[in-house]
Symmetry: C2
Subunit: 320 residues, 2 copies
Amino acid sequence: MKTVSFFEPVRVQIEQVEALMRSQSNGHHSELAAALDHLLSAGGKRVRPAVTLLAGRMLGGAPERLVTLAAAIEMLHTATLVHDDLIDGALFRRGSPTLNAQWSPAATVLTGDFIFARAAKLAASTDSIEVMHLFSSTLSTIVNGEIVQLFSGRGKANRDSYYHRIYAKTASLFETAASAAAILSPVSDETVEIMRIYGREIGMAFQIVDDVLDFTGEQATVGKPLASDLRQGLVTLPALNYLEVWPEDPDMAAILAGTISEPCVARLIAAIRQSGAIQRALEEAEQFVKRGVDALSSLPDCVERQALLDLAEYFVQRQL
Amino acid sequence: MKTVSFFEPVRVQIEQVEALMRSQSNGHHSELAAALDHLLSAGGKRVRPAVTLLAGRMLGGAPERLVTLAAAIEMLHTATLVHDDLIDGALFRRGSPTLNAQWSPAATVLTGDFIFARAAKLAASTDSIEVMHLFSSTLSTIVNGEIVQLFSGRGKANRDSYYHRIYAKTASLFETAASAAAILSPVSDETVEIMRIYGREIGMAFQIVDDVLDFTGEQATVGKPLASDLRQGLVTLPALNYLEVWPEDPDMAAILAGTISEPCVARLIAAIRQSGAIQRALEEAEQFVKRGVDALSSLPDCVERQALLDLAEYFVQRQL
């Protein structure tokens, strides 16, 4: 497994990102500092900062601006999680209690807003208008995606809307993590485009594997009930693949109609696991990763490029 | 009354700001467009855009960038109101139902986030890193102020914390509305500082008068129960002034301790109105306005400068 090695070339900078993120509550209310500390301690492997730092280092960007950008990206990600968990009423994330599990909705909304504000401040500190544009567009894309999901009918099973959703939810920020690093580096527009493709494709793969883990993961590891998306009427790629083969499955029909019973969910999880739908979803994730990896083929080999390739491979392997 | 005349020099641009704000939902989910439309139709006199447009026009800024900045400022203001009303559970604002009165908390949180995102996008479109910095700092200040208020104990009566609160809540955005307009204009740092002072001082006055109106307004006009701040344990300037003269008032003590009865609130409103506390608060607002007006005295006279002076005067007169 390469779960750790791809961080190696940017280990020091990742620590700088961590410190920069924590310092964002300096001079503000102590409860904010506590909340930010809780959120940052709870988690995340910092794969988005790793993408930014590796891409920027590979392309010769100024280290300090890249650390600032990486912190902006991860703070934006953190802020969206805070509001997401509040909206979903999620009580745990990665095994730690969510902010809304401990705080009032009011404090949770405001903490999310504060982290958005600090993310924007960090993005502005890259001193690049182009990065700032990309950053605010990405935030619009992410939030619009959540709104589309909120207002779309339960159980709408549609491959096109699935791709749109995972782009908005996940791939758009990986795309920005990679391409904004290129924008801050002395490279051509073509290279920025290469990095944009790399980020988008591995981001799509990342979310597909997340959706697979929702069916295959150990419940204790995932930290939420299996098939949590399906329970909410959200049809992800494994379920889409299954539906293509078994369009009339009565358990699926019941769940999509909102009639959820545990035996029914358990039967369906088993059926999806056995149907090849999971395998086909993973193959598709591998295709996304391949396109991301191929995009980098024209760039000269170096330690960071290899790490970006390893990171891309990790994105599909992590489910195994 | 000069309630209308100060808009005159920038009437066309205010309409452009309005159109630009409404266009921010283009290409996004239709429910978002409906929400934004509702919010923008419901209100506001657009005094913040007026400050930006008048200041920028006076100082020779490019009209298009000023319209963009003014839209960014008003969108930021709108987003904070959406989350505020959700947090306070407010059902009406300016006589119109709030978003949270009609929508789920989830949709309301996300709509606020979307408007923040579009405000940031508009701020980035001014193509000024300095404006972007100011913009994101102001958002941090506003949100931090709300968090301080949320976590501060009920009934803490303190003049210093009051000034800090109204700066964060209101004056900081007026300060940015005025100074960012100067930043986008071909003027010296001294002039930017003059506009910063003007914006901050009239912003302080604006909030003091808002707080006065909470005691003196007609309930139908204000759109919420009188003394709504005090009912929530929030001690504003009229109450602070009253407390200085009547520190032992039993009705005040009861309300600050959280024991709220209508007869007690009614007695206290009457007592505050008769005590001179309102008048002293208004005199203080006038002093803030005077400092704001004085700041402009070194700038050459012109239609826009006169409008900014009128606008400042209006900020205290509007209670009468």
